[in-house]
Symmetry: C2
């Protein structure tokens, strides 16, 4: 069935982004902060009232595996999702919980150094600065 395989793959690729996955992706992309699954569910329901919680989780996992979004976890509470998939770093505010994106170019070198040190085959490196954001710092 080699002849059919090609057509199937093309079609599958096209249709695998179902309506609900599309909506979930839109919600994550449109969000100005990095939403939790619960927040995505809430917003997704506005665009697709029948969507279920499980589908939001399934879609988030699908989109993550497909490389279209990133999952971010730090200390307390729920995972957050990020539509910015190019490599970047995060800063978390211990005062208000705000999560900010930034990019340190040094991390490319750093990943090599870390891989050398640990003998791991590197896939990615995550750097999180913890501290007080400009609004919360008292000094």
């Amino acid at each position: 069935m080699a002849a059919h395989r090609k057509a199937h793959d093309a079609a599958a690729r096209k249709t695998n982004l179902t309506r609900q996955r599309e909506v979930v992706l839109e919600v994550v992309t449109d969000a100005e902060h990095h939403p939790t699954a619960a927040e995505v569910f809430e917003q997704a329901k506005k665009r697709l009232p029948t969507i279920s919680y499980a589908t939001v989780y399934n879609s988030l996992r699908y989109l993550k595996d497909a490389g279209l979004i990133l999952e971010i976890t730090f200390g307390n509470g729920a995972s957050r999702y990020d539509s910015e998939t190019s490599r970047h770093d995060h800063a978390v505010c211990t005062g208000c919980g705000k999560l900010v994106d930034f990019d340190l170019t040094e991390t490319v070198e750093l990943m090599r150094a870390a891989a050398r040190r640990t003998h791991f085959k590197p896939a990615s490196i995550h750097l999180t600065l913890v501290g007080l954001c400009p609004d919360c710092r008292s000094d």
Copy 2:
């Protein structure tokens, strides 16, 4: 109400290190991998059969706040605890889930750079290398 148990030594009493907190700290320190709260509970029960789950969590929080252990969270599942409190980095294996400690001296500079970039008042910086450990890398 006879005293069935010896009193703690003076140092422990002074620092609020109760018997259960002491046991929890020992378990985390003795563990060769970074245990979850559930694993700590299991081991702690062997040394102090009446200890409760809530006390394990309370103790872990107490020890964390006291700076005696660190809490580590990455992507999936439960928090893990680490008795190595000096600043260091982690590498997680996507194959077997192994978590390895290492230290990159470059991170001191990095925290400054990150703080400059984000205008955060830095408290700490966390770096996690994700990849395949020596045992899991196929090449």
